[in-house]
């Protein structure tokens, strides 16, 4: 049953060092606030899972929270590289990062299989692709009817999934709409679930393409307005593209990155303070 609580309390209670954690979101509804709180609470040795690790995973990696990353596309969308991720892979800074790399089709199916409580997913994938040479979790399976050889991948079952959504009601039922990515699957595949929301509402007005996640599969619901910044929550705010562009410069250099994180994340008590620490003078970012 979902409990309404602060994000600080939720991360403290539900994230253990060494957990496998999926903070999912596909451009839209990325749980940045939750990622920051994990950094503030200095969680360690996490296995970070996500199809599209972006800035928040770059931050978690650069701050040394991650032991391993399971992913299928690790870039700064529309901008370029994740420099902290690259630095960890190319130069083992701040420490080596184990990577387990997939393609999107694989991870989408692996979450789907996890939500379905199956141990593996079957898909037609990786023909002519070099990835399976470097990822031993990708196996082959034969169709018992046609003999066709297909790819088999283990399902994803995170210890914890964190997502951001537009709304929750007082019962902890969660509503999201717009691009919904793999969030529902990631939630249903997980042992523990935290959802941050833009707003707790008395009554939910159903809308097109809504996804409902009932409170009885969620552990904690935390109201964090704007908690997906610089990503967005359709109907509440827009994507702050400028932050993505400026992150390139902030993250390229280790010291600039560390100073920025100390001032804006470690030096703030919560996401509201973090947001205030960044002057949004038409460009979005302080250095």
């Amino acid at each position: 049953m979902a409990k309404l609580m602060t994000l600080k309390a939720a991360i403290s209670e539900l994230v253990d060092d060494g957990d496998s954690v999926a903070l999912e979101g596909f451009t839209h509804l990325i749980p940045f606030a939750a990622g920051h709180e994990i950094i503030r609470q200095c969680k360690k040795d996490l296995t970070l899972i996500r199809m599209t690790p972006d800035l928040i995973y770059d931050q978690l990696i650069g701050m040394g929270c991650a032991k391993k990353m399971i992913f299928s596309w690790g870039g700064n969308p529309g901008v370029g590289s994740l420099h902290r991720f690259r630095d960890a892979v190319e130069h083992h800074w701040p420490h080596p990062l184990e990577i387990e790399e997939h393609a999107h089709a694989d991870m989408a199916n692996a979450y789907e299989a996890g939500a379905s409580n199956l141990p593996f997913a079957t898909l037609r994938a990786y023909i002519g692709c070099d990835l399976p040479k470097y990822n031993s979790t990708i196996k082959e399976i034969e169709c018992p009817f046609t003999g066709e050889k297909l790819a088999a991948v283990p399902s994803i079952r995170p210890d914890l999934t964190v997502i951001h959504a537009q709304q929750a009601d007082r019962e902890g039922n969660v509503f999201l709409w717009g691009i919904t990515g793999v969030q529902k699957q990631a939630v249903l595949a997980a042992k523990k679930v935290i959802v941050t929301v833009e707003e707790v509402v008395e009554n939910f007005e159903p809308s097109a393409n809504q996804t409902v996640i009932p409170g009885w599969v969620i552990d904690a619901v935390c109201e964090v307005p704007g908690g997906a910044f610089p990503s967005y929550a359709q109907g509440y705010n827009s994507r702050t593209n400028a932050f993505y562009q400026e992150w390139d410069a902030i993250s390229r250099d280790r010291e600039t990155f560390q100073r920025w994180m100390e001032v804006h994340v470690l030096g703030t008590r919560d996401f509201a303070e973090f947001r205030k620490s960044i002057p949004l003078n038409g460009k979005g970012v302080a250095a």
């Binding site: 596909f26 451009t27 839209h28 199809m51 599209t52 992913f71 299928s72 596309w73 690790g74 870039g75 969308p77 529309g78 901008v79 590289s81 994740l82 991720f85 690259r86 892979v89 190319e90 790399e101 997939h102 393609a103 999107h104 089709a105 989408a108 199916n109 979450y111 789907e112 898909l123 037609r124 994938a125 990786y126 023909i127 002519g128 692709c129 070099d130 990835l131 040479k133 470097y134 050889k149 717009g178 691009i179 919904t180 990515g181 793999v182 529902k184 699957q185 393409n209 996804t211 967005y232 359709q234 827009s238 994507r239 702050t240 593209n241 400028a242 993505y244 038409g282 460009k283 979005g284």
Partner: protein, 258 residues
């Protein structure tokens, strides 16, 4: 009177002309997205554009920066989850054209977006596969667009992320792939198409004022040219106007949103 234009505009326009009306097109972000939307706004108004974020039949007024911008969601005919996108729509076999970009490409139109150098201690760690491997194997046909340079058109590629024609000849069919694979690569210098037998990319078009030497100098392998090498038709004024309007709207919106 004909407008002046940049090589980047020529590339986008040439790429946009490869699409046919009513096709269902799975669009990569960046250059493919610009070309596909230009096509939608000019010659192929009824093309169906799909982005891997789950947006189907999308009609963005401005070009998205990412694969999941709000603009894509708000103008889409339907939104589906990412598992559904990859299971029902892509693997399901409903996509005519996959339109990809690339960091590196080799002479058989294989694509690398994963690593340059050794996988375990790479010189450059690129973002990775994303949807590309299964786009390249599930769509009926593949188009690729990228700038032609010695760094991107490479002789030896350390990693194949998305298969083109593999080692050429019938190696693609032998690997079990039944679709056509890449049928054209559109660059800022011209258009390359696989030779019907060897499947090696052959330059079939050069854009106006581009020389054979230029193309050769910007290719990491010994580039072949078609016997009947053609010049790409010039951008029409309408094409340029629509593309520039699109780019201006996009820039204005991105400044405004910041």
């Amino acid at each position: 009177m004909t407008y002046e234009y940049t090589s980047s505009e020529m590339m986008t326009i040439a790429a946009s002309r490869m699409l046919k009306n009513r096709q269902v097109c799975f669009v990569g972000i960046g250059l493919p997205s610009a070309a596909a939307n230009l096509a939608r706004l000019t010659s192929t108004p009824d093309i169906v554009l799909i982005y891997e974020s789950g947006t189907i039949g999308t009609r963005p007024d401005i070009l998205p920066l990412s694969i999941g911008d709000g603009e894509l969601a708000e103008t889409a005919q339907m939104l589906v989850s990412v598992p559904e996108m990859f299971r029902y729509w892509l693997q399901g076999g409903h996509i005519d054209i996959g339109f990809l970009g690339a960091a590196q490409i080799d002479r058989f139109a294989n694509i690398n977006t994963t690593v340059i150098g050794d996988y375990y201690s790479p010189n450059v760690r690129l973002p990775g596969a994303g949807g590309a491997p299964e786009i390249s194997t599930s769509c009926k046909e593949i188009l690729i667009t990228l700038k032609q340079t010695k760094r991107s058109f490479v002789k030896e590629m350390s990693f194949i992320t998305s298969p083109g024609h593999l080692s050429g000849g019938d190696s693609r069919e032998k690997a079990g792939l039944v679709n056509k694979g890449p049928t054209a690569v559109i660059t800022d210098l011209g258009i390359l198409e696989p030779d019907p037998q060897t499947r090696e990319l052959v330059m079939t078009h050069l854009h106006e004022a581009v020389t054979v030497e230029q193309a050769r100098d910007n290719t990491g392998w010994d580039l072949k040219f078609a016997k009947d090498l053609k010049t790409t038709p010039l951008p029409s004024n309408r094409e340029l106007e629509v593309l520039r309007d699109l780019n201006e709207r996009t820039e204005r919106a991105q400044k405004g949103a910041a």
